[in-house]
């Protein structure tokens, strides 16, 4: 890897961010988290009410990346074969027909509507980047990013994601409702002219892979790694460093994947910012999307209305930075 490669990658990422912003109004944080996930070779759980542009975001991302895109609309009758693919019998014998999971950018819409059996079919794809159908394992394309959406208000007839699956999403991005100015712009864009126009590709597949490699090689000081580990450990109620809120409201703390997510997200942010070194601010910005979905609160927290973010804020204050 040479310096010019890194410079080229940074320029391309800046262009990608700009291209997505031309389609999506606002939601800078969400776009940032999605890009972190892309650079970190991770997956994102997008949580938000319907109509906030979650699907549009993924479509714009895949278009700007020039990568293949597929959408999975999860329903209760969705079967694993519908996602992974199936073997079909043809004149030449059984032929594997790949499912929608075999794309660079996959959108699993309303994933909490799929049955646990279907949801678990995604586990191997997300973790192993492969799909086993029958006794044949098929590799997923590279890069591969799964963006799943979740509706937080319609809980009837849904199947909440098991913790094991939630933990496999590197980040969780909370799509908020747009502000007035943003809403005005959204309405204007969608009601005037030709409507929304998806961006042209600004990155190639090779450039995406290069960016991912750069982020993996991004150097992080040992003290920062130690600091991240302390943050993750402080989310566990049995830890000495755990603040009172954790001991009071948390049932299970973040897994080691939380530490990975935190470091990768911080590195991706630093790289997207044009820097070659990590700052404390990078870790701070990645703290919430990396850990918010990994805390399992107890009944007392639910009864008292304590949110995971409130607990995480205490964790952040309790651990001194280097």
């Amino acid at each position: 890897m040479e310096r010019k490669d890194i410079d080229r990658a940074q320029e391309a990422l800046a262009a990608l961010e700009s291209a997505i912003s031309t389609v999506i109004v606002g939601q800078k944080d969400v776009i940032e988290v999605v890009l972190w996930a892309l650079l970190s070779r991770g997956h994102v759980l997008l949580e938000g009410v319907p109509g906030l542009g979650k699907t549009l975001l993924v479509r714009a991302l895949s278009r700007a990346l020039g990568l293949s895109f597929s959408r999975i609309q999860c329903t209760p009758d969705l079967m694993p074969a519908d996602i992974l693919g199936t073997n079909v019998f043809s004149e030449d014998g059984f032929r594997f027909l790949p499912g929608p999971i075999f794309a660079n950018v996959v959108l699993a819409d309303e994933i909490n509507r799929a049955t646990p059996k279907t949801q678990s079919a995604l586990l191997e794809a997300m973790q192993e980047r492969q799909a086993t159908v029958g006794n044949v394992t098929h590799a997923l394309p590279d890069p591969f990013i799964l963006l799943a959406t979740q509706n937080p208000i319609e809980m009837e007839g849904t199947y909440p994601l098991p913790e094991a699956q939630v933990d496999r999403f590197l980040f969780k991005a909370e799509v908020r409702y747009p502000e007035e100015k943003e809403l005005v712009e959204i309405i204007r864009r969608n009601t005037e002219g030709e409507g929304l126009v998806l961006p042209e590709p600004v990155l190639t597949r090779e450039e995406v892979l290069l960016c991912q490699r750069v982020v993996r090689e991004f150097p992080v000081h040992e003290e920062f790694l130690s600091y991240v580990a302390k943050l993750v450990l402080a989310t566990h109620p049995g830890a000495r460093s755990a603040p009172p809120a954790v001991q009071k409201y948390v049932l299970y703390g973040a897994s080691p994947r939380g530490g990975l997510a935190l470091v990768l997200g911080a590195k991706a942010r630093a790289f997207l910012s044009g820097r070659f070194h990590l700052e404390l601010e990078d870790i701070q910005r990645a703290f919430r999307p990396a850990l918010i979905h990994r805390l399992i609160l107890n009944f007392r927290a639910e009864a008292e209305g304590v949110t995971p973010w409130q607990v995480l804020q205490e964790v952040w204050e309790a651990v001194p930075p280097p």
């Binding site: 090689e217 040992e222 990590l278």
Partner: protein, 435 residues
């Protein structure tokens, strides 16, 4: 290339961090050493040698050599140099030998090293301030004067050049302990009071000297008459003349001689002894009074006062309480001679150890009675009864009151050396004077 450059920068960071730590340690140790030095100096206690300040370097050296927690310190240094977390990133890239990132990080890395020292450099200021205080002279520690100094009765005024006075420590003690004339009374002469006590009336020095001279003449004539009377007892002419002379003498002499020459019980020998002693005392007193008038200089002899600026100033023998060895030997010699040579004058039984003490109340015997009033006595001494503390005044037995001038009489009655006389005088002064 980039690796060496990165190593050099991180090496500088390590060095400057150690140096900063050593600077802080040096500032602290130097400050406390100087503070201790100033305190000792202010209290007048023994100071430690200047070489001790070299010990301030020890903590600085230790602080420099002590292992540095570089992994944490580099974060602090990077922030202090306004580089964010760039230096830790550089260290991380160097540890992975990632030359691409090293090159990128070294591109615009220009740390201002002085930022590592700027606030800490002012830590030396307190030490420097204390150093500056060392150059300033401290006031000499005040030693509270003994109670004696409150006594206003002054027997002498020390004069002469300061370098003579401070030549020896004993001289300094003399200067300190000798009571002085009250302010504004430097021209005060004790002899008018002394002689006023002697004759029972106030008079000037010149008048007193004239009276002394007259009395001397009378006493000489009386001595002749007593010599004749001892050979021709019962002579009426002699008796009449003796009676006339007695009537002209001062009261104490008159009383003593009257007792010795009581009709029918004359003791001519005793009377002659009284007259002889009176003559000797008179001549001494005359000589001292005339000396006070005449002399203005002269050394401070043992038991004698120092120079006086004003002519006529009596150099009252002061006899310091603490005498040097030579003076003590002289005093002992004189005492022994006085003890051996005079059956009446010493005041102690032969062989009895010399001791100052309250003189017994008894009739004056033989020795010349020289009443003297302590100089400086005034209204504040009126009514003061000398005596041992705790004794109940007014009782007839077991207690006596001696007016100050009678102390002088008693002191001069005995041929005590001036030093010892002054010692006793000071003793009574301590008991009653100024308290």
């Amino acid at each position: 290339m980039v690796v060496e450059k990165a190593q050099a920068i991180l090496g500088k960071v390590k060095f400057f961090l150690r140096l900063r730590r050593a600077l802080l340690a040096l500032s602290a140790s130097l400050f406390f050493e100087l503070l201790l030095f100033q305190i000792l100096r202010a209290l007048g206690l023994p100071l430690f040698p200047p070489a001790f300040f070299g010990a301030a370097l020890a903590p600085a050296v230790l602080a420099f050599l002590f292992p540095l927690r570089f992994s944490r310190a580099i974060f602090w240094a990077s922030r202090r140099l306004l580089l964010g977390s760039k230096l830790p990133g550089l260290a991380a890239a160097l540890s992975r030998k990632n030359t691409t990132f090293l090159a990128a990080l070294l591109e615009d890395l220009l740390p201002r090293w002085s930022r590592l020292f700027v606030p800490e450099a002012f830590a030396l200021l307190p030490a420097l301030l204390l150093c500056g205080l060392l150059l300033l002279p401290l006031p000499s520690p005040r030693i509270s004067e003994p109670a004696l100094s409150a006594v206003e009765a002054v027997s002498i005024q020390i004069e002469s050049a300061p370098e003579e006075k401070s030549a020896t420590s004993s001289s300094a003690r003399v200067e300190k302990e000798i009571p002085r004339f009250p302010p504004g009374t430097s021209g005060f002469s004790p002899y008018p009071l002394l002689l006023a006590g002697l004759f029972g009336e106030e008079m000037t020095l010149e008048e007193a000297l004239r009276r002394l001279s007259e009395e001397e003449g009378l006493l000489r004539r009386l001595a002749e008459l007593l010599g004749h009377a001892s050979g021709r007892p019962g002579s009426e002419e002699i008796a009449q003349e003796v009676a006339e002379i007695l009537s002209s003498l001062r009261p104490d002499l008159k009383q003593a001689l009257s007792q010795a020459l009581a009709p029918g019980n004359e003791d001519f020998e005793e009377a002659q002894a009284i007259v002889a002693a009176a003559l000797e005392g008179l001549s001494n007193l005359q000589r001292e009074a005339q000396g006070a008038e005449r002399e203005e200089g002269g050394e401070v002899a043992l038991g004698t006062g120092g120079q006086s600026e004003v002519s006529g100033e009596f150099r009252e023998p002061h006899g310091e309480i603490l005498l040097d060895e030579e003076a003590q030997a002289q005093m002992r010699k004189e005492l022994e001679e006085a003890q051996e040579g005079s059956g009446l004058g010493a005041g102690w039984e032969q062989g009895e150890p010399v001791r100052p003490g309250v003189p017994e109340k008894r009739d004056v015997e033989a020795e010349p009675v020289l009443t003297a009033v302590r100089p400086g006595e005034g209204s504040w001494r009126t009514g003061v009864a000398l005596g041992l503390p705790g004794e109940n005044p007014g009782e007839e037995e077991g207690f006596f009151q001696i007016p100050p001038h009678e102390v002088e009489i008693l002191l001069r009655e005995r041929p005590l050396p001036p030093g010892l006389r002054e010692l006793v005088r000071r003793y009574f002064e301590l008991l009653s004077g100024g308290e």
